[in-house]
């Protein structure tokens, strides 16, 4: 099954990755508690840590951060009913992790597209969860509330008004979070990147028209790598 190996789920486990896991989980919990007390804040900003972990270490790390932060919140007295939202966090972490590993996250345009797809996925899942738990009660986020009532006024059915509200709010929310993560990782000081063994370069997706172009690209990469090897060897010789 070697040909099927895509390395999407690969995680390198060591002390530093476990430290990162714990740190990002604590950041997640801290952000939720901080924002819960900030009335009038229009966005959700939850699972920042899980998304950052997924970007850095892949979907598995993101999922573990989501689970750990939920466990910490349970210990500190979260309403048990809200445990269901861990499924949302898992979906987010897996999506972001796979999206980054497939190479679509390396440009700002990719970040925007990722935010939109993420928001679409979030909107469906979170709307269904909210409807199952709380019915059509509009949630206490000002932007979501205004959109929800606007859609209801034009005659949209409640679940779809809720969906639109969550989608628009999530586009902003996830867009801001993903851009923050993008700039945090790309502009991170080298010392921190070295300490946590974080690569500041995201995988890059190259989209070609057909198999011929793909083969040409693969061949050029091979030749580039060979040429670079030769240049490095010559440099070493000259230095010695």
């Amino acid at each position: 099954m070697k040909e099927y190996k895509s390395n999407i789920l690969t995680v390198i486990w060591d002390v530093k990755s476990i430290l990162l896991l714990v740190l990002l989980s604590l950041i997640d919990v801290a952000m939720v508690y901080f924002l819960d007390n900030l009335s009038g804040f229009p966005l959700f900003f939850d699972y920042f840590g899980a998304m950052a972990g997924a970007c850095i270490g892949g979907p598995i790390l993101g999922v573990l951060i989501a689970l750990l932060s939920t466990i910490i919140r349970i210990i500190f007295g979260i309403n048990e009913v809200n445990i269901i939202f861990v499924l949302e966090a898992i979906a987010l972490a897996v999506f972001v992790g796979v999206y980054v590993r497939l190479g679509f996250f390396y440009k700002k345009r990719g970040v925007i597209i990722g935010a939109v797809l993420c928001a679409l996925m979030e909107a469906f899942f979170i709307t269904a969860m909210h409807l199952a738990l709380y019915g059509a009660q509009p949630q206490n986020y000002s932007l979501y509330k205004s959109l929800f009532f606007m859609m209801r006024r034009i005659g949209m059915l409640t679940p779809f008004a809720s969906l639109v509200g969550f989608f628009v709010t999530n586009v902003l929310d996830k867009g801001i979070i993903l851009f923050i993560i993008y700039f945090l990782i790309t502009k991170m000081p080298d010392s921190i990147a070295k300490f946590f063994e974080i690569s500041k370069d995201f995988p890059q997706a190259v989209v070609v028209n057909n198999q011929g172009e793909e083969d040409f690209l693969a061949e050029s990469e091979k030749l580039k790598a060979k040429a670079q090897e030769k240049i490095d060897k010559r440099r070493e010789k000259e230095e010695s």
Binding site: M1, E3, Y4, S6, I8, I84, L87, I90, A91, V94, V98, L102, G103, Y106, L117, L120, M121, A123, F124, F125, T127, A128, M129, L131, A132, L133, Y134, G135, A136, T158, P159, F160, S162, L163, D201, F202, P203, Q204, A205, V206, V207, V208, N209, N210, Q211, E213, E214, L217, A218, E221
Partner: protein, 362 residues
Amino acid sequence: MQKVTFQKWQVKKLVTWFVLILIIGGSYLCYSTWQLYNDKAMENTYWNNELTDTPEEQERIEKLSENATKVKVGTYVESLKEINMKSSYFRIVGKVWFSWEGDPDLDMVNNFHVYNGTMNSKVVEKDITEGNMHYQLCKIDVSVFKNFWTKRFPLESHQLRFYIEPSQVIDYVVFVEDEGHSTVNPSFSIAGYNLIRYDHGVHTNEYNTTYGEPGVEKGAITSEFLTQIELNRDSLGTYTKCFIALFGTALWVFITMFLCTYHRVDPLSMIPAALFGAVSNIMVGANLLPDALEIGLLEYVNVWGILTILGGALVVININRIRTRYNDNKFAALFGRIITFELVFIVLLGHVLMPMAAYMWQ
């Protein structure tokens, strides 16, 4: 910098199927959970509506019953013998008592009936007269007609009501609740349900016909004593019984998708067999319900199962197509992994959220 190469058709296929499954599955989930939650929320409205008259109605009732004999009524619900959703009735055993002052000829125990009910037996246990005070107690076994709300079956709750109605109109007899004495047997139980609440109240009923009686201009108004109890499913037993075949079917579909993704096996012929699981499922549930039933949890979960099978079949077809048309096993495996994970996640989410929306959590 690690480079990952995609062809345009690959990106298009991946994004299209990801978004399509999300939209179809997500929309269906949003709609079904909303419908189920709404039905659950209506139970509370329904519970309270029957207990109270509006202030205008109360004023009117007081005027009409100025000269009526005030009869204190109470009920004791002993047991629930049967709940029959298919035939739309429930059978309840309990005690009813009346006490009033004055009118020695009233004989309430032989001049009442249960609205929309069939008295199976009535035994007078006490008939006491002390001076001006009269007290009568009887034990009743009555079958009451009820249109069961089946939307959330098999995780539904039921509000069972019976109305004690006098043979006389409100001008002659008005009921008053015997406060603090009406109750339910503490050992009350019925298989498959828990008693979650009960209440009593006086209700006024106005008939919209005079039955063509000469000299009568308006329909009769009667004072009724309402007893209501609410039952809720006590476990997931019936739910599991109804859907176990479907869960097995879904699992089988996931296995076929796994086989297709990770091994070069075409499992498409196994999927129609899964449909039999879904069909047998539908038969189990359908036999338990009245013939005329609302579209609800039973249908939503069964349709969800059918969508799972269809989704799985389409994923398998797509993987096979990528292998045969493009000869690209690597992308076929990647596509299979991503879309299979998405489908499995959405299906599991649906199987968690739909019962969650339907069940009345205490």
